[in-house]
Subunit: 242 residues, 2 copies
C-alpha cells in the first residue's frame, strides 16, 4: 500500500512557492510600481504560505476523493507447447511494466518447479491450472495485473480460471501441431513421440481449442511485434481506458 | 494501481487558492492600507495561480519521490483444529482493514471448497498448504498484507510457506488436544475418534508444534481481545513502523 511522506509534501511546498511567489511579486510590482514593496510582500508570503501549503497537503492525504484504481485483469495465454506463449507473454509483460502498471508475471516454467510433485496427467494438470487461476484471481482482486502463460490444454480448468477472475482476457495462440513441432527447439515433441512423455498435448492428448477467446494470435502469420500491438490495443480499448 | 484524477487536482487547486489568496490580500492591505488594491491583486492571483497549481499537481503525479509502500507481510495462523485460529485471524484482519491497510484474508474453509479434489492425507495437506503459501507470497510481493489461517499441521509445508515469503509471521495457537476437543462445537474431534475422519491432527496424526514461531498465543489463558492486542503490538513494532 502506498502513502506519501512528509518530505514529499515539503518539497512540493517549496517547488510550488517558487512559482507562486514570483507571480505575487510581479502582480504587486505591476500595480504599485514599487519594487521594494513587491519583494517584501513576496518574502513574507514565502514563509506564511509554505507552512500553509504543507498542512494543505497533509490534509488532502486523508481525502480519498479522486484517487482511483487502474482496473486490473488476468491476461491468460493458452496454446500448444512451443506455440510461443512464453516469449509473447514476456514481451507484453515488459510493455505493461514500462507503462508503470502494477503487473505480475506467472509462467508454468516458474511455478511447476516449486511444486515438483505435480504430474502431467489430465487430472493433475487441471488441478495445477485451477490453482494457478485462483492465484491470478486473488492478485487481480488486489489491484495487480497478471500476465499468465500455461499450456492449459483442458477447457475444464480454463473455465475455472475464467470463473474466479473478474476481467479474464484469454489469448489463444493459434497454430498447428506441425508448426509447433517445427518450432520446438527443446525437442519436447520428439520426446513425446518417442514415448518419453505421456499426456503431451497435440501428441497423445488433445488440446481443447478455446471457443470464445478474447484475443486470437495467428502465431504462424504475424510477427511477435504485431502480436504485442494486437494485445495492447485490445487492452487499451477494452479495459485500461474504460 | 492507484492514480489521481484531474478533478481531484482541480478541487485541490480551489481549496488551496481559498486560503492562499486571503493571505496575499491581507499582506497587501497591511503594507499599503489600500483595500481596493488588495482585492484587485487577490482576484488576479486567483485565476493565474489556480491554473499554475493545477499544472504543478499534474507534474508531481509523475514524480515518484516520497511515495512509499507500507511493508506487507504474511501473518500465518497455525494450530490444532478448534484452537481458535479462524476467529482470531478474522479479528486481526478486521483491525488491519480498519487501519486502512491493503489486506487479504485466506482461510482453509474458503480455499478448500474451490478445490474439492484436495484430500486430507499428509501428502495432500502438504500440497495444499504449499500452494496456499505460494499464493500468500505472491500477494505479499505485490504489496498486499495476507492474514492466513490453516491448520497446517506439518512442519515441511510450513517451512515452504515461510521460505517463499519475505516477511513471514507465524502465529502458533498453543493449546492442548483436550482443550480443543472441549471447544469443538462442530464435533470434528468426535467424528475423528469414531473413525469417520482419517489423518485428523491431534487424533490419528501428530500436529508438529512450531519451533520458533514469531508469536505464540496461549489460547486457553488469554482472551481474544488480548490476543488481538498481542499480535497488533508485534506487527507495529516489528514490521509496520520499521
Amino acid at each position: 500500500m502506498q502513502y506519501e511522506t512528509k518530505k514529499r509534501s515539503i518539497l512540493k511546498a517549496i517547488s510550488w512557492r517558487t512559482w507562486a511567489t514570483m507571480t505575487t511579486a510581479v502582480l504587486v510590482f505591476v500595480f504599485t510600481g514599487k519594487f521594494a514593496l513587491a519583494i517584501t510582500i513576496g518574502l513574507l508570503e514565502v514563509f506564511a504560505k509554505m507552512a500553509l501549503y504543507f498542512f494543505h497537503e497533509r490534509l488532502w492525504q486523508k481525502i480519498g476523493y479522486g484517487k482511483k484504481e487502474i482496473p486490473s485483469f488476468v491476461l491468460w495465454f493458452t496454446g500448444l507447447p512451443a506455440s510461443g506463449k512464453k516469449e509473447l507473454a514476456d514481451r507484453v509483460y515488459q510493455q505493461l511494466k514500462a507503462d508503470k502498471l502494477k503487473v505480475e508475471r506467472l509462467d508454468s516454467h516458474d511455478v511447476r518447479p516449486l511444486f515438483p510433485e505435480t504430474g502431467f496427467s489430465p487430472e493433475e494438470v487441471n488441478r495445477h491450472v485451477k490453482r494457478a487461476g485462483h492465484l491470478c484471481a486473488m492478485l487481480e482482486k488486489n489491484g495487480v495485473i497478471v500476465v499468465a502463460s500455461f499450456v492449459s490444454p483442458y477447457v475444464k480448468s480454463r473455465i475455472f480460471a475464467r470463473g474466479v477472475a473478474t476481467n479474464f482476457v484469454e489469448v489463444y495462440m493459434r497454430s498447428t501441431v506441425e508448426a509447433c513441432e517445427r518450432r520446438d527447439a527443446k525437442g519436447h515433441y520428439a520426446k513425446a513421440r518417442a514415448g518419453e512423455y505421456q499426456n503431451f498435448p497435440g501428441v497423445d492428448v488433445d488440446y481443447d481449442v478455446p471457443e470464445n477467446p478474447e484475443i486470437t494470435i495467428d502465431v504462424d502469420l504475424v510477427s511477435v511485434d504485431d502480436a504485442v500491438k494486437q494485445i495492447t490495443t485490445y487492452l487499451r480499448s477494452n479495459i485500461l481506458n474504460s
